[in-house]
């Protein structure tokens, strides 16, 4: 069955070219490459065996192409790094030499061998047996064609923070159609809550809100706020997305954003905690999150609105709305189905829950704040109009800022959240500016890497902000001396001075770290991505594919991939947009030909395979009593192949005989 395309003489004696890469010292230091090459040379079918310093270099690739022509090679095996890294490189080199690229097989002797083993002899033996397996396997390889899949021009951007906004704008400006989905009533994300941005002290709203309104008005962007992606399927270039729109109880097209309804509400005073202001302010059941919210639409909160909760309300808001008739209490969830070719996931982060460290007193002592609360407190559009007033109504005269709350902590999050040192410095500056208070920073290490960041630290030192090196033990109101009465006492080991200090302050600010959103796992599953151990979405390669995921056509931007500051988020969003455009402008993607097909003459029509396929690619032809695989739907997992009792399903690139010969090969060495 296998010699449809190959001449018989090839089956009898292939001419395999084998190359083992030194990878500088990476492989050669642990694996005796010369010995491996010598061993392979003697294996049947091997026409040529070489070791070379850097196979992936241009001369290395050229060597393969040259040898194919000169030595009439018809199969190529390279033993070097992971195929996930360089399989494409060597397939291209094989193709350049005039062979079908799938006559190539790769052996991983770096990630799986030289880097993880310590005994040179054992590692060399392992390399030999893996090479042996590849030599066995490659003779069964068939010439294959890659599949071309067309790419839908539309892009879905999930998350409307600064990363999502920037990615959407970049694509829209390039003429691509973008759907921007945000689950909150407004776009803007965390950045919209900030007062100033480090280290330039730009006003966050001044740089963000123009971008937000641009997004709202852009002809190429369909903005869907208060909406969530609930269903996602399809494949690269052709994804089907279902988006749920939560009811605002406001008719989008009729609301002109005049906000007359808000004073019209039966609640005369704002009564309910305002999420946007981190619970420091109050809002009514009908509200707009913040003045520059985009879109400029009010929202009615069903949990607090009298009409929606009890059905008994004078509906004075409807009166206030008048003949615009934009309020609709009967609104229900609606769903939109769209088709997109690529997706940018920019779902952001959440801050660490400071209450998890009870010794810092958040939620116990009322003058302990999180950094995000302080952002709102110093913000001119915040709950206090930019006046730093504590929960007890006083203005603080001394403030302690505790760094690394929840970060770099074995008990909570191991990682450095990257932005806390810098935002703590910024808050120190702003709090000093607003109150003139004495400010203490308690830090483990100051991490101010970034353009003009360390200079900013220097500036704060000059401003007279105090820096105490040590992880804070506790924040307490238990006074030891009369001078400590009425203060919050920060107990810390000053590791530079070498003793434990008690520092009384009026206000404590906890610089909480960044962590993945609570529902990051659900989002990951929805888009078929991977997560790192800490729960941030995993990039395809930490250095060379930092915005790609393991799923083609899905890209990452912003803090959902790991903690980062605004410049990095924007840069990454731009990179993700560029990657999406690569696919869109190319118009198609070449897909691995590892799909499965049925050998008609062998199929007994038992139907075992039909229910196994999650993509419903397998159907049963009643007339012929045979199963059929739709190649366009098959994604090449091979589950049906492993289950077929008569061995009548074949998976390209992973045929039974290929795997069996690989098993034989790895066990062949003595």
């Amino acid at each position: 069955m296998e010699n449809k395309t190959n001449g018989n003489q090839k089956k009898e004696q292939p001419r395999i070219g084998f190359y083992v890469c030194h990878c500088g010292h990476n492989i050669a230091s642990m694996v005796d490459c010369v010995e491996v090459a010598k061993y392979v040379e003697k294996l049947p079918g091997v026409a040529l065996s070489r070791d070379y310093k850097y196979m992936c270099s241009d001369p290395g690739q050229e060597l393969i192409a040259q040898d194919i022509k000169e030595h009439k090679l018809d199969r190529i095996v390279v033993a070097s790094c992971s195929p996930l890294l360089h399989e494409h490189t060597f397939r291209n080199a094989t193709e350049k030499g005039g062979l079908n690229p799938f006559y190539f097989h790769m052996v991983n002797i770096r990630e799986h061998n030289s880097w993880v083993h310590t005994d040179r002899k054992e590692a060399t033996e392992k390399a030999k047996s893996l090479a042996h397996a590849a030599i066995h396997r490659v003779r069964h390889h068939k010439p294959l064609e890659t599949k071309r899949v067309s790419i839908d021009q539309n892009v879905l951007v999930v998350g409307g923070g600064i990363a999502g906004i920037h990615a959407a704008m970049t694509l829209a400006n390039a003429g691509k159609k973008v759907y921007l989905v945000e689950r909150e009533p407004t776009i803007g994300g965390h950045m919209a809550k900030f007062d100033k941005t480090f280290p330039t002290l730009d006003c966050a709203a001044c740089i963000l809100t123009p971008k937000m309104s641009e997004v709202g008005a852009h002809p190429n962007i369909t903005l869907m706020t208060y909406s969530e992606v609930v269903k996602f399927d399809g494949y690269v270039g052709n994804y089907n997305v279902t988006i749920k729109h939560k009811p605002r109880y406001i008719i989008d097209d009729l609301c002109i954003g005049c906000q007359d309804c808000i004073p019209g509400c039966v609640y005369k005073e704002p009564k309910f905690l305002d999420d946007f202001n981190e619970g420091l302010g109050k809002r009514k059941p009908i509200y707009i999150p913040f003045p520059q919210a985009t879109p400029q639409l009010v929202v009615i909160d069903p949990d607090t609105c009298l009409q929606l909760k009890t059905g008994k309300c004078k509906q004075t808001c409807v009166e206030a709305c008048g003949d615009k008739k934009a309020i609709d209490f009967t609104q229900k969830e609606t769903f939109t189905e769209i088709k997109v070719g690529t997706v940018i996931v920019a779902t952001g982060f959440q801050t660490f829950d400071a209450a998890k460290i009870p010794q810092y007193g958040y939620g116990i002592h009322k003058n302990v704040y999180t950094s995000l609360e302080i952002e709102r407190l110093v913000n001119a559009s915040g709950p206090t109009g930019g006046h730093v007033v504590m929960r007890d109504g006083r203005t603080p005269r001394s403030i302690g800022i505790i760094h690394c709350v929840g970060s770099r902590d074995e008990r909570h999050n191991r990682w450095c959240s990257r932005v806390c040192c810098m935002y703590s410095l910024k808050l120190a500056h702003l709090l000093k500016e607003h109150t003139g208070a004495e400010i203490y920073n308690f830090y483990i290490d100051m991490r101010t890497g970034g353009k003009n960041y360390d200079e900013f630290y220097g500036k704060l030192l000059d401003e007279g902000v105090q820096f105490i090196r040590g992880r804070v033990g506790e924040v307490t109101d238990w006074a030891f001396t009369p001078e400590e009465e009425g203060y919050l006492i920060i107990r810390v080991e000053d590791t530079l001075a070498g003793y434990v200090r008690r520092i009384p302050v009026d206000m404590v600010v906890l610089s909480v770290g960044l962590q993945p959103q609570d529902d990051a796992q659900a989002v990951r599953r929805l888009f078929n991505m991977s997560c790192g151990g800490e729960g941030f979405f995993l990039e395809r390669h930490p250095k060379l594919a930092p915005v790609n995921t393991f799923t083609d056509g899905i890209y990452l931007a912003g803090c959902c991939q790991g903690p980062k500051d605004i410049p990095d988020s924007v840069a990454q969003a731009g990179a993700a947009a560029a990657e999406a455009m690569v696919l869109i402008d190319k118009g198609y993607i070449e897909q691995e030909p590892n799909t499965a097909y049925i050998l008609d003459e062998e199929c007994s029509g038992c139907k075992s395979c039909v229910p196994l396929c999650p993509y419903t690619a397998i159907t049963y032809d009643d007339a012929r009593k045979k199963a059929i695989i739709n190649e366009a739907l098959c994604k090449g997992c091979g589950t049906c192949v492993g289950a077929c009792p008569s061995g009548s399903i074949v998976q390209n690139l992973f045929e039974d005989e290929e795997v069996f010969s690989e098993i034989e090969g790895v066990l062949a060495y003595e």
Partner: protein
């Protein structure tokens, strides 16, 4: 046979998306583990045909390890569940054949769990080393020899009888 330096041979089938990537991560992070493992890459643990495992044992593997994505995380939705079903059945069959439980293992290892690759491999090598060699392929040779001797024996015994019959 030079048996004084026997070390186990473990054949592993790793799925492309999670466990193979995790093993790459272990490499990039320069974790150190025993060199007894030989990884065969498949797209999904669902591709693992029970025959692969039987064949590996028959050809001389002392143990077989299968690595797939965690439940609910399969790149192909549910291939790992399909593998789990086969694993359970096959495990029972293998133990009936006298192959100890520790010689056949299924592990869920996500792309982020390089550390788990290391611990699983080391743990498995320790357990299989304690069990000693399986050497089915040598046993097959012995059994084959026994069979052919038996055959030969029967043939040489039955041959005269045939002649006698012919004479009568």
């Amino acid at each position: 046979m030079s048996e004084q330096k026997w070390t186990p041979r473990i054949v592993a089938f790793f799925c492309n998306w999670c466990t193979y990537t995790a093993a790459d991560l272990a490499g990039v992070s320069r974790m150190k583990y025993a060199a007894n493992i030989r990884v065969i890459r498949l797209m999904c643990s669902g591709r693992v045909d029970p025959q692969f495992i039987l064949d590996a044992f028959a050809k001389g593997a002392d143990a077989v390890l299968i690595g797939g994505c965690h439940p609910n995380d399969c790149h192909y939705v549910e291939g790992n569940y399909k593998m789990l079903r086969r694993f359970r059945l096959l495990k029972r069959m293998l133990s009936d054949m006298g192959i100890e439980e520790d010689r056949f293992r299924l592990e869920w290892i996500s792309a982020a769990e390089g550390e788990k690759v290391k611990t699983v491999v080391n743990d498995m090598v320790a357990k299989v080393t304690a069990l000693g060699p399986l050497r089915l392929h040598k046993k097959f040779e012995e059994w084959d020899k026994e069979m052919s001797e038996l055959e030969h024996h029967i043939q040489t015994q039955s041959a005269p009888a045939e002649k006698e019959v012919a004479h009568v």
